[in-house]
Symmetry: C2
């Protein structure tokens, strides 16, 4: 099954005609998972090849407006494309994000009297004190939402940091494990590690037939990694009749950050096939980047190196960096560009990451709005019969 | 001083790549007033010729998401373009809208920890029971916001319906009078009537000099419409030495509606130079339009006729109506088009309004995103010396 990532917005601070506000979609097996949902994401979705109705999960990295102000409108518009379904429940969307998101969505949807043809739940991540200088400044009334749910809201969990993994456990199903990890930013920010589960290799049916083993319960036991004794007395080990196991892919999406917090992130991202990391400013602006809780290409590369990521995709660029090929690539920004003056051309940010990665085999990609990056399965095969 | 209206979003229900969500700007004397602020308005502003930093007032007609979900993001982005101003206050924005808007903005800006370099105040209009079938359904906790203001929020008024004028009095300054009036929609909706004040005509200085009257206190009295007695004993009446008074222009912007409520709207819009009215669906879909609290071109034309408007600008079109010249003009809509199937071409909506206006001299204009409509002063002059 193919897996890919489509970038819907690669700009920082605000949406502009050149770069949308933060949003990307991980697409696999007919489902779309949205990571961040800045203002205008619904319009970017319409311009993309993504079918918005396939969105089943939304992950919000942190509560800066350019990462979540598009969520109420997206839910309203998704609802417009749902058919009335009588007594049955419509589509359901799981939302994961920092404390405060549930109340925001509830207030936005209630004040706009949005009567949805879909249901949603918000699972809130409890931030730690180490994540941000602002932690604890949020009025508790904003995070402790009223007990009254929006009519189409279903109860969500509060997810605490698991001290063993140093991560937040968000999803555990037959296909995927999703963990969140802590990042350092001006407000609590999270990254997300999506691990596809390993699938056992296929049975070599022709070989089994040659050995006189016909389809039946033995097939299941072999596929589950158990040895079986044939009528002939021969011990048949699973690795003899199984194709190599199919390794699961790993995709990591970082929220805004200038650093990881704790060990959880590095461990969760170990061996990532694709790591999506912010690079708001060029290397020459590192002091300013860190002051605002952001990263440069070299800083992102250091994280990719520490985790052994195969591909590093940079995004969340200051609006001063126009997309490659844009007529005004190096010109200064639009309405809200406080940073003034043109920076390096965007291609320079790729060079800076590549130089920092010299000697490793990590590939660097610069994201642009509507770029799709395939998540290719690694050729390395693991021992058959060892299902994770 | 010139005055014009620029449309930033002319689509209904949600923003699409073809039509932005509701927003328009009335521009005059170096100020911009924004009417409605759907998601994506800040990006539309960047694409337009409007200088967003000139926005001093925002009027929100009603609390459906496609009319106000863009407001928190707009304030954040406007703030980014402000320079730090030390102890002095930065720019200030007055926001007018239905009850609930103040709490929404406060929650959105607090949860996103938006520390603004501008200040704002929200003046809330108290809806009447006649305006909407939903009036009163809103949880009082949502409209009764906490006493704690956002750090950059300044106290706003609660504006009640004035029983004499049947309107809400919003602005009374030396240049403008702005009133809101009640509309019938699924949720409480308002229209806004902007009346430029009449300016007295200029003094005919050459004539005064010929009469031996030199610049001094007499000039002021004449300009204020008072007669004066000259040293010669001659009574000089102001109309003898004043150019004709300059009539003020009137612009009326309606929120979503299927009808006016009470007499306030008709009176406030009497003789409008430009009336901006919604026409969500074509005449053939009137039943459906009314069911959803919307209007057709003929319904809008009837309001323009009743008010004697000189120009009727239609906007807020169903996303099924692609802009004229759009390749897929008649094709069916995007992600959220619940209405399915292509409607009449958009040009047909103009024909329908014109037919309904036959015999009157009201001009019809179809708005498109980024269209600018000048508000021309009427040639009709009023009696000098009668300042309104």
């Amino acid at each position: 099954m193919s897996m890919d990532i489509t970038f819907l917005g690669t700009g920082s601070a605000y949406p502009s005609p050149h770069r949308g506000a933060s949003a990307l979609v991980l697409r696999t097996e007919g489902e779309c998972w949205l990571f961040d949902c800045g203002e205008g994401t619904q319009t970017q979705l319409m311009k993309s090849a993504i079918r918005a109705s396939k969105i089943t999960k939304v992950f919000i990295s942190h509560l800066h407006g350019d990462h979540f102000f598009g969520l109420p409108g997206l839910l309203c518009t998704l609802s417009l494309s749902c058919s009335p379904h009588g007594d049955q429940e419509g589509p359901h969307i799981e939302v994961y994000g920092p404390q405060g998101l549930r109340n925001f969505l509830r207030v936005a949807l209630q004040i706009s009297r949005s009567d949805l043809l879909l249901t949603y739940a918000v699972h809130e991540l409890e931030p730690s004190r180490e994540q941000s200088p602002c932690t604890g400044h949020l009025d508790p009334a904003l995070t402790t939402s009223s007990p009254q749910l929006h009519p189409q809201e279903r109860p969500g969990r509060t997810v605490h940091l698991d001290p063993d993994s140093d991560c937040y456990s968000l999803v555990h199903d037959q296909r995927f494990v999703v963990q969140a990890f802590q990042l350092y930013h001006r407000v609590p920010s999270f990254g997300f590690a999506v691990q596809e589960r390993e699938r056992p290799g296929r049975l070599k049916v022709e070989l089994l037939k040659e050995l006189g083993v016909n389809p039946g319960p033995l097939y299941g036991r072999l596929k589950n990694g158990q040895s079986v004794t044939l009528d002939s007395g021969r011990l048949l080990r699973p690795e003899e009749v199984l194709e190599p196991a199919v390794r699961g892919r790993k995709v990591c999406v970082f929220g805004d950050c200038s650093a990881l917090v704790g060990e959880g992130g590095r461990r969760a991202c170990e061996g990532a096939d694709v790591m999506v990391h912010e690079a708001t400013l060029e290397d020459g602006q590192q002091e300013k980047a860190v002051e605002h809780g952001h990263s440069t290409p070299s800083m992102a590369a250091a994280v990719a190196l520490a985790c052994g990521a195969r591909t590093l995709v940079l995004h969340h660029f200051s609006q001063r960096y126009r997309p490659a090929g844009d007529q005004q690539e190096q010109e200064s920004g639009a309405v809200g560009d406080q940073q003034g003056g043109g920076g390096a051309p965007i291609s320079q940010l790729k060079v800076q990451a590549e130089q920092a990665l010299q000697g490793s085999c990590t590939r660097v990609i610069l994201a642009e709005d509507f770029l799709t990056v395939p998540v290719v399965r690694q050729e390395r095969h693991t021992q058959p019969g060892k299902n994770s």
